[in-house]
């Protein structure tokens, strides 16, 4: 299970750490500087990066998913925000206020901005590369393994569940129909799922151990993480912008 889209683009070439820094800086900026303009500028930059990365179309369903949250934010703020004073328009007895709508809009920009900023990271970075970069930066390989295996586990588990369902249906177990039927079917389905995952967990840990997962030596890496020429420059610029934003907020 990964949202990564294999493409050949400038954004894909940038190293994972730089993109992680970008994602955090871009996601936090609209909070540090709470103005519509800042949020809009960052959002436009993220969208441009997504377009350059040839993954813009993949972000749309993600935004669509959060649309319910976004729309309800705007509506609720527009109607109920405590500092609402200037009525803008109304549907019957429901009055929408300017202040609330404006704040709702800011929240909406922040949410979409957050999605797009992390979209740049997630849609253009292979999870393996990301995890490996972190391990090389000093993160424990155990944590790296946990993250990696969770990503693998979900599709693997849903495949196992499908097979188990087939196997039990083949023995005459009805799995569709009324609630009672479904409740009855729960144990025969979940039993093998749990047993299978326990067995595979044990086997996987043995397999890891025989390949020296816990060895104390300094490890080398199979894949060379490609380094990006301007990585250091971009990282420095991003961090400078971040610090500048904080200073701006404090002193101006």
């Amino acid at each position: 299970m990964t949202l990564y889209v294999k493409q050949d683009s400038l954004i894909h070439e940038i190293d994972p750490i730089t993109k992680v820094i970008y994602a955090f800086v871009a996601a936090l900026l609209p909070y540090i500087l709470p103005s519509h303009t800042v949020a809009l500028i960052v959002l436009v930059i993220s969208i441009m990066l997504l377009v350059v990365g040839k993954v813009f179309r993949k972000i749309i369903p993600l935004i669509g998913l959060s649309l319910f949250l976004i729309v309800s934010l705007v509506i609720i703020q527009g109607i109920f925000r405590p500092d609402n004073v200037t009525p803008l328009f109304h549907f019957g007895p429901i009055i929408f206020y300017k202040e609330g709508l404006s704040y709702g809009l800011l929240l909406m920009l922040r949410v979409i901005n957050l999605l797009c900023a992390f979209g740049v990271l997630i849609l253009t970075t292979k999870p393996d590369d990301l995890i490996q970069s972190f391990i090389q930066k000093g993160m424990s390989p155990r944590i790296g393994y946990v993250i990696g295996s969770v990503l693998q586990l979900i599709p693997q588990m849903s495949a196992t569940i499908a097979t188990i369902k087939d196997a039990q249906r083949s023995r005459g177990l009805e799995t569709e129909g009324s609630l009672l039927v479904r409740i009855k079917a729960f144990l025969p389905l979940i039993g093998p799922v749990i047993m299978n995952s326990l067995i595979s967990t044990r086997e996987r840990s043995i397999a890891l151990e025989v390949r020296g997962f816990n060895a104390k030596q300094k490890k080398t890496f199979l894949h060379e993480v490609h380094t990006y020429k301007y990585a250091k420059v971009i990282q420095a610029v991003l961090i400078l912008i971040f610090i500048f934003a904080i200073l701006w907020r404090i002193f101006l």
């Binding site: 196992t160 023995r171 005459g172 177990l173 039993g191």
Partner: protein, 267 residues
């Protein structure tokens, strides 16, 4: 009368990538082996027969029942499928209860189910393990449990998916006997299988699949006489057949016994 009628079916998981195309075949009584390279579409094919998947075009009739019109559970009385991995089905704490699960699902009374289950375990040679926890058994014995759990349901049609995997000589001999006994009882036995010697010794009819199509279908001996075709689809002949060819004999031999008897007669 038992039988599966497959009428010109096609199937694909993702559009534009057909897994099976234009399969038209009729299974009557002969025990039948389905062989083919990995990815030839064998498992998909038996899932269609079992009703777990429904054909995109065409119809499959299992003992006259169109698989499109019945749920898998409803078809379970007619057709049993033994899955490759026994761990995908085992959830009870004792072997006997695990085996009784299927029979009870299809309406056998507890007493009936117990009788049939004990009988099936007896047949398969693990009746002494009946009260053990299935997960305390070895994988190959667990596989036998999954076979028994289908036998106990007494369906008139049984499909095996790779039954010999992980079985030693004794286990294979036992399976061979079970399949032959089932055949004698009038049960239609189909099996996906990679062990060519087992195919030659056990099955009357053999179907060779390649890239979603049936490329050879006929009596096992005749199928294995097409040496080149078998090689073309990356399969190998049974050892006895290979030896016969290397000895320069014209007939197609299926078993070691046949070969030995032939030589004895010649001398």
């Amino acid at each position: 009368m038992n039988g599966i009628k497959v009428e010109n079916i096609s199937f694909s998981y993702t559009e534009g990538q057909p897994v099976l195309s234009n399969i038209d075949v009729h299974f009557r009584q002969e025990s039948t082996a389905i062989i083919g390279q990995n990815g030839a579409g064998k498992t998909t094919f038996v899932k269609l027969l079992k009703g777990l998947l429904k054909p995109a075009t065409g119809n499959i009739y299992v003992n006259g029942m169109n698989t499109q019109e019945y749920t898998v559970a409803q078809l379970a009385k007619q057709i049993g499928l033994v899955f490759q991995n026994p761990n995908d089905q085992i959830f009870k704490h004792t072997v006997i209860e695990e085996v009784m699960f299927g029979p009870k699902n299809i309406g056998q009374s507890t007493e009936e189910a117990r009788q049939n289950s004990l009988l099936a375990l007896e047949k398969i040679g693990i009746v002494h393990e009946a009260d053990k926890n299935p997960y305390d058994l070895s994988l190959s014995d667990r596989k036998l449990v999954s076979i028994a759990s289908i036998l106990a349901m007494k369906p008139p049609i049984i499909i095996f998916d790779e039954p010999t995997m992980g079985q030693d000589y004794l286990g294979k001999e036992r399976l061979k006997k079970i399949m032959k006994d089932l055949r004698a009882e009038g049960v239609l036995v189909l099996s996906i299988i990679h062990d060519m010697d087992f195919v030659a010794e056990t099955f009357e009819r053999t179907i060779v699949m390649n890239q979603g199509k049936i490329v050879l279908d006929g009596p096992t001996r005749e199928v294995f006489s097409h040496e080149q075709l078998i090689r073309d689809v990356y399969l190998e002949l049974p050892h006895a057949t290979q030896l016969g060819k290397q000895l320069g004999l014209k007939q197609t031999f299926l078993t070691v016994d046949e070969l030995i008897n032939f030589n004895r007669k010649k001398q």
